[in-house]
Symmetry: D2
Subunit: 332 residues, 4 copies
């Protein structure tokens, strides 16, 4: 359950407060030049502490690549092992908090699933795990089959507000001042995927994207094309009429979001992911401890008020892994 993908498989490990995060990317063909700069750039995008809207934790997050590459960084076709040390792993002291169930966190469900003795295994529920995914995505992005494909995610609304970057920032700042957090929606557009990618029945391209996106911490919904709005429409409104130009067949509109019957149609693939507000608040909250006693959870520390913002490079990384996995099934 720590492996994602079929032809291109990412298997990961690491607790947020353990020694290291890491993974193995298996299925990369040989002969691909890997630029470390791309990996550093992508991990930097998801790193906390970049600006005042995200937390101040400061870790370098640059992976060491341990296998699968020549000295001059060309893939060998063998699995690429990587690790990232957790530099401030021992400085965190949750103390009494370890006894309290934080609302909307996985504390309670992990206890139910694994029993109390594995509480620290909850480290796998940390968003720090997504660092592994970003590294995997940053490598996969460099595949030849991905070179004409762009994968771009953006935040399109925060707290229900759509607007300019400044307007969205002010929604986050207002929440932050109140010790509150706020949800948001990330939209991702994938351009350049040729028609004919994906599978019918249980391997539908959008079903794989849905599974990938719903794996991201705090994700609550996934839709592609018109998504939930399609459920409010009539067939005549939603139809993507086919047309052709110079022998190339395409649709005039893109209500379908680039996928029909689970297979890409050559139009941009477009989907959205809804993220809930960060569950950790800088306020006191009523809760219970593991024995069921009423307690007060003190708000303190440092946390992102809007996880949707940090999810952007993660959405892209998972989209890259899905698309690359599909494309490799035709080229292997």
């Amino acid at each position: 359950m720590n492996t994602f993908g079929r032809n291109l498989r990412l298997t990961t490990f690491g607790e947020s407060h353990g020694k290291a995060m890491g993974g193995i990317l298996d299925g990369m063909p040989g002969g691909v030049k890997i630029e470390m700069d791309v990996i550093i750039r992508e991990t930097a995008r998801r790193r906390p502490g970049q600006n005042h809207l995200v937390t101040a934790r400061n870790e370098k997050d640059i992976p060491e690549l341990l296998s699968g590459l020549t000295d001059d960084m060309v893939t060998l076709g063998t699995p690429i092992g990587f690790i990232v040390r957790n530099t401030d792993q021992r400085s965190v002291d949750y103390g009494e908090m370890a006894e309290l169930y934080r609302p909307n966190h996985a504390d309670f469900t992990y206890d139910q699933r694994y029993g109390l003795h594995e509480a620290r295994g909850g480290g796998r529920a940390s968003a720090r795990e997504t660092l592994n995914w970003v590294i995997g995505g940053a490598i996969a992005r460099q595949l030849p089959c991905m070179q004409n494909i762009s994968v771009n995610a953006n935040i399109i609304s925060i707290g229900g507000i759509k607007g300019s970057s400044e307007e969205l920032a002010s929604v986050v700042e207002e929440a932050m001042k109140r010790g509150d957090s706020v949800g948001g929606v990330v939209e991702c557009v994938i351009e350049g995927v040729p028609a004919g990618i994906g599978n019918p029945v249980f391997g539908k391209l959008h079903a794989r994207l849905a599974q990938a996106m719903m794996s991201i911490n705090a994700a609550k919904g996934f839709e592609y094309g018109d998504g939930f709005a399609a459920a409010t429409m009539y067939g005549t409104e939603h139809a993507d009429i086919f047309t052709s130009k110079d022998g190339h067949i395409y649709t005039e509109t893109n209500h379908s979001g680039g996928i029909q019957g689970g297979i890409s149609n050559g139009m941009p693939i477009l989907f959205r992911v809804a993220f809930k507000p960060t569950p950790t608040l800088l306020r006191d909250i009523d809760t219970v401890d593991k024995a069921g006693n009423a307690r007060i959870l003190k708000g303190k520390g440092r946390h992102d008020p809007c996880v949707a913002l940090r999810a952007i490079p993660v959405v892209e990384a998972m989209a890259v892994l899905v698309i690359a996995d599909e494309l490799l099934s035709y080229n292997d």
Copy 2:
């Protein structure tokens, strides 16, 4: 790509206009009494021709169970093979239509994926495939571990209208009269799942539900708990405060939809699936043929104006298969 599940695996076959649909349900433990009536009831629910809102196609859709059972219908722990003959398989003549790309159908993408010679393979894109899923779900529903679990799906809006059954029916009828179709949203509630079911990282319970639901024909979106609405909320609004009664810990609200960190928390599991309008219309539509020439697609025949209605038992069947698969991983 025609297999779903891990511990309980459904593998299916069948083209809508071929000889038969069928499948193999592998992973059922032995000693489970299977009632044929439950299977007949579930397949009847998805059958076209039940009422004036769905198509008039009339097939019995009662499977023959070929293995995995004693004479008195007790499971042997071996795979259950089943088939359903396609009784009116040869009567359909799509004629010229076979040359035209129907908007929002999989005709074009299948051609791109498989090449023209396999056009008829498009029969796997037919909603008739979901009959196999309903049969699989109807068997899995009878597992002992499912006996205290209820899985109930309902339509909650059609064409953006929420309302009583009569109001929703009139939306469909109006669309039908105009030769149009209309989208809808199905909500599913699963009650009785104990806390602690699911997995972290890539096996999150809601990610598996998302993949399952997005496999259903015409599905455009999936959300659980507050879903996309959570993206418009503040952390203080969205928090599910823990409380306890007689030593039992639970949450006062259920914004989370019964799942936290990918694992059930003992509250009802609640999710919604958005379905687009049926792409087939009883009107003339502009399109192109396989050579890219502009053509008119004549509306004719019989089709469901609202696929969301027929999807209800399919949503339930897929939810049953996901939950049973998870539960069997603890009991095997």
Copy 3:
């Protein structure tokens, strides 16, 4: 556990005394003409009752192909579902024997694995299951990528005797007369596989062949190339010296059996499978019943004295499935 293969997957069902055997072959590409004659020929080869050395059971064993094919038997790229009815399913009455543990049969281990209530599930342990494999192999054999590949199995020794067909036949007849059974070794040669097929580490070509062959009923050993004899040799004896002719590199000898490091080297792939004597004897044998009481198992009925003979087409079918699975991973 009823599925074999990765790109070309055969999933099977059926108890020997149930309604039908059957399976789904998933992963066949489209556009392949399937000759029913090939399937009939292969199933006839494994059918009991062909000659006086094998049992007299008389079933037609011709499958009905239910999906995945056009009317003129061209594959659609969709899963091929097939069934074979068990015509004399109800005529068998094991009676009291059902209470006795037959030596070297799976009766006792199935009881331990599944509990007594699933005793009839033992039908999956019957060699009749291999009919499904032969059907799957007979379809896969018709893939374009298999057309220049020959897969031929032969019996090379029976009861430790190597010799002509007549000599081997007389060993079987002698055993038969005494109500005894006898083991044998099947050798398989696969010619025409290009160099470079297979995988390192856990997907080695010979490891997959070993798994496939050891799945066949009564198989006790697998070896390829020099096999166990290689363990008695010195490196200088075992070396396959490379040479070249007209730019084509090959080895002068084939101690390696056509595979080095898990990957084919272009030489014939050669392996052997050891089969134990049929466990059922036509003599009285001491045994115990399910309660552990000493009992006598009466020898009666009809059984093959030498399962190795009937295994020949099964060895070929499994070899075809392994090789085709590998080849499809390059062509998909």
Copy 4:
């Protein structure tokens, strides 16, 4: 293809001359105390340079465990990531040899599979990869379900000679003096596995053991119970007669090797693996270069004359991984 197992999955990486070897063991339940001493002991057993019969390469081979454990080495139920640095990675200079195909090595087949640019990927063909397996096995061996199970492998013949440890050693020494190498057979006995472990059809316990053992470098054959000798026997000789004592049913003999119908019967599981002689010789050998030109491969350096000796802990590790994987499917 770098992953082994179903419930307990080992995924590995590393080239013999790269930065590090490593892996991820996923599926270990929580609460298991891991003794580092056991891991060190097992890796020491397979390390080259232990005595004069194996090569002098000197690496510590002690893994760093990076995740999945508390500070006091108790498993968390999360994946255990580990790495072992390759300390003398850069000192090896194969020089001209890189252009020559070594007989019975994977050089030629890797070139055919992956193309010349990935030649260094051949590092995955090195027996150093088995270090990862021994580490995985040493962790799995400490599972509670393995505590009453013993897994013991021993060399039973070298160069066809069976005898005392001294006799076998002298066979190796003689070969060594001549710059030659020699094959051998390893026998493994697993005691304490309860009856009822394994699966019918494609998941047979001996088929999984066969696949595991044939994954080991230089393995040429696998047999269990009487193995190839069973093919020379009559049914009356090979029968394992059931008997019972104090209600416990068992067989008087163990021709079956502890497995019937793919499922353990409670008797010791016994199998043998044949290993070919080390292909590298300390003599000059005729070969060709990548262009097909006749060349002389100079024998030099240091190599094990008998890989079967070093395979002993690897056979045990793979057996542990198979048995633990099966046992965890009942306890998860």
